[in-house]
């Protein structure tokens, strides 16, 4: 495998990490109005992701930096082209991030409700827009000869991309609800499982449509294989949730999201930003990548440090493996 190909898959892996991890905390954020009957419930929900949302979000920063360093042309085209969509994602991530830290700073219920709403909106907007963005990348966008995006914000909102956005929104929502069922106990756990059943049915219908469209319109052999894995895992996770196998449901949902992301990247390869107007203007791993020297340096760094990062992040999840209940919240509040 040559270095640009390796880095294409490293970028894919970073996005797998990002969507699998931040995906479930987006889902928990979106589930607040559905699963949190009162303030204590909502604190239980937020505490399930409290120790990890920040490290989950870091994956997108590293993914962005990896694209910048490994595929500067792709980074430039993508980020300037999707300007307003990324602006919305940034604003959502900002208000969501500070809300986690600020909601518990004052005792008034109105104060907390305001930040709960910001967490929900701040989770839903990126969950939807990341799907829109990735569907557009796979589908291709109009590019000029200098690889600059020539469309508008509204040309990004086409049917395939909107379906992609809805798919990620629902996948992350269900992923989050499964996570709540896995991490809590008592009343909330039961509510999460019931909501998981309904959410999974809707998710299966929408995701099936999107995956089928992707395979039929842009499918490669590898992409189709990943889409099939995603479909099987998605149905498996719904069955596991129905049977009360919470760990299995969550793990299979993680597999679903990982396989779906890999299906999109496989459909894309070897392009990174196909031009919908003229294939000659497309960005590929060959014409978008950095020099061999830069990629070599980065490969060594990633080879040494990614396993270390994975190890200490896994340890974090292990440290906070216990279920959280209302009793914890009451005890800690004295």
């Amino acid at each position: 495998m040559d270095l640009p190909t390796l880095w294409f898959w490293i970028v894919a892996a970073l996005f797998v990490g990002y969507f699998v991890l931040d995906g479930f905390d987006f889902g928990v954020g979106m589930s607040l109005p559905f699963l949190g009957k009162d303030d204590t419930d909502r604190r239980v929900l937020i505490n399930t992701i409290g120790p990890v949302w920040d490290l989950n979000e870091t994956w997108v920063i590293v993914a962005g930096a990896a694209i910048f360093a490994a595929f500067p042309e792709w980074y430039a085209t993508l980020f300037s082209g999707f300007y307003l969509a990324l602006l919305l994602i940034l604003l959502a991530l900002i208000i969501r991030g500070v809300s986690f830290e600020y909601r518990h700073q004052r005792p008034e219920l109105a104060w907390k409700r305001r930040f709960d709403l910001m967490i929900t909106v701040g989770s839903a907007v990126p969950a939807f827009l990341w799907g829109v963005a990735f569907a557009n990348i796979v589908q291709g966008v109009p590019l000029d000869a200098d690889h600059n995006f020539t469309g508008t914000f509204f040309s990004l909102l086409n049917p395939y991309a909107l379906l992609g956005g809805l798919t990620t929104l629902l996948l992350f929502f269900t992923h989050g609800v499964y996570f709540v069922a896995l991490k809590t106990d008592g009343e909330i756990r039961a509510r999460a499982r019931r909501l998981g059943v309904r959410a999974s049915i809707l998710t299966i219908m929408v995701a099936a449509g999107f995956l089928a469209w992707t395979v039929l319109a842009f499918g490669t052999l590898l992409g189709t294989a990943f889409a099939a894995v995603a479909a099987v895992a998605l149905i498996g996770s719904a069955i596991a949730n129905g049977r009360g196998r919470e760990g299995t449901a969550f793990a299979l949902m993680a597999v679903t999201i990982a396989a779906a992301v890999l299906a999109l990247f496989s459909s894309l390869f070897p392009a990174v930003m196909p031009a919908s107007n003229d294939v000659a203007n497309s960005l590929t791993i060959a014409n978008a990548s950095s020099s061999t020297y830069t990629l070599t340096i980065m490969s060594w760094t990633a080879l040494i440090f990614l396993p270390l990062v994975l190890a200490y992040q896994a340890w974090t999840y292990w440290t906070f493996r216990k279920r959280i209940t209302r009793a914890h919240i009451d005890a800690a509040a004295h």
Partner: protein
């Protein structure tokens, strides 16, 4: 209307605004992480409850800040691609590497261990829990190093070659990029300045409580720590700043000339340092000036008879080298930013020296106005740091990468002025609201003071009794 929607001007404003705003939170994050880690180390070693109270108290102020630093930092990374795509295409091969290294080596570390620190109090053994806050502290400092190395490439490009076929700069020596003389001087300068900002917060908070004669057992040590930290960090900031000026004269003589608004090349006594000058912006007429002879020569070359090049000569040289154009930054901005940076930083350190004298040998001033000054002095280091960055970045103009690419060539060609305007308005509103919320929260937390910590068991004097330490509950 056309001027209002100029993508270049708007993108520059956006970068300036979001960067200065981001950098209001970064110094406190960098400095406070280490201060909290030091207090927690003292707690683990001595078991004195005062230290644990301070860890919780300063830790809370730290966390309110940390969240803002993180979320505004994502904007910084994204806007290189969003607003400056031509820049990203041109330097991504070189500039992207330190950013990716920051993410892998520093950012993951900070973000993971901050969660372990906040929620790990009752889940990890004390010594292991202590490691988590040190990991955060190391992460913040590493993070700053990589970002400064990236920035240093813009000030003084090294370790690259130009690939004509691809029309871009390519990395040939990562070691050179990471040991860029500008980075090696700017890194300690920035970190130590961040410690000054942190010390300012500690002094102000302690002074507020001591003025009211409350929480003396926790606030007096905080005050002393803050005062010593301020004085020590200032000494380091000044020394590294001196190193940085030497490097700057070497690599960006125009920036030094602009810092002095010195139009003509001068030697020895003529190369005087102006403390204060009133004149016309073009430097033709000088109305009033206070100058110290030889000082500029000494600062720039470390000799009294050194020659310092003036703006006019440099401009002529640059026209020869790079073709026709205006190669001078906005002189009044660089001139005043340079002075305010040094002046505010030194003034804050002076306040701390006086504070050390007034509180020597266990004394505590009783006059309220002494404390009032200490409280109101607290923004000075932060302002010094902000104008320091304004100086660094404005002094680089018109270059985005000195001698290689102009800022005007770096902007995204396909992003409209309207889009940038929308994003400036959105950031201004959101950042503005958050600034007010954050400031009030910090003020409220600081004024509430350290909270008492209960001890398990009957005898509070019993050193074996373990205090109840709870995880933060959201």
């Amino acid at each position: 209307m056309e001027d209002l929607l100029d993508p270049l001007a708007l993108s520059r404003w956006q970068f300036g605004l979001t960067t200065i705003y981001h950098f209001l939170f970064v110094p406190i994050t960098i400095g406070m992480a280490s201060v909290v880690a030091v207090y927690q180390t003292m707690w683990v070693r001595t078991g004195k409850i005062v230290y644990l109270q301070l860890v919780h108290f300063l830790g809370k102020i730290f966390l309110i800040n940390f969240a803002m630093g993180v979320v505004t930092g994502i904007v910084q990374e994204f806007q290189f691609g969003m607003n400056w795509s031509n820049y990203s295409r041109f330097v991504g091969d070189v500039f992207g590497a330190p950013l990716a290294l920051e993410g892998l080596l520093a950012f993951f570390l900070e973000a993971t261990f901050i969660g372990l620190w906040i929620f790990g109090w009752d889940k990890l053994p004390p010594k292991l829990h202590l490691v988590t806050i040190w990991a955060v502290a190391v992460g913040t400092i590493l993070s700053a190093y990589f970002i400064i190395a990236a920035n240093a490439f813009m000030q003084n490009p090294v370790g690259y070659t130009i690939n004509e076929a691809k029309g871009r700069a390519e990395l040939v020596d990562i070691g050179a990029v990471l040991t860029n003389p500008v980075a090696l001087a700017a890194f300690p300068h920035t970190i130590l300045a961040a410690f000054m900002v942190t010390a300012g917060v500690m002094i102000a908070v302690a002074a507020w409580h001591l003025k009211r004669n409350q929480n003396i057992e926790t606030m007096r040590p905080t005050l002393k720590f803050g005062l010593w930290l301020m004085v020590g960090a200032f000494a380091g900031t000044a020394l590294s700043g001196d190193q940085l000026s030497l490097v700057m004269v070497d690599t960006q003589p125009m920036k030094m000339a602009a810092a002095e608004a010195m139009y003509n090349t001068s030697t020895g006594a003529d190369a005087s340092f102006s403390i204060f000058t009133l004149g016309t912006p073009d430097g033709v007429h000088e109305l009033f000036s206070i100058r110290i002879p030889y000082l500029l020569s000494f600062l720039s070359t470390h000799t009294f008879d050194g020659t310092v090049e003036g703006i006019n000569d440099l401009q002529a040289q640059y026209v020869q080298l790079y073709g026709p154009g205006d190669y001078t930054p906005v002189i009044w901005v660089t001139y005043w930013a340079f002075r305010w940076m040094i002046g505010l930083g030194a003034a804050h350190a002076l306040v701390a020296v006086v504070g050390l004298w007034l509180t020597r040998k266990g004394r505590t001033p009783t006059a309220k106005w002494v404390w009032t000054i200490a409280i109101w002095a607290s923004p000075m280091s932060l302002l010094a740091m902000s104008v320091g960055w304004v100086f660094t970045e404005m002094g680089r103009q018109p270059w985005i990468v000195f001698s290689l690419m102009k800022t005007s060539d770096a902007v995204s060609p396909n992003v409209s002025g309207l889009e940038v305007l929308i994003s400036i308005i959105a950031f201004t509103i959101v950042y503005g609201i958050l600034a007010v919320v954050e400031f009030r929260l910090i003020l409220k937390t600081a004024q509430k003071g350290p909270e008492p910590i209960e001890l398990e068991g009957d005898d509070p004097e019993d050193p074996a009794a373990k205090p109840i330490v709870r995880a933060t509950v959201y």
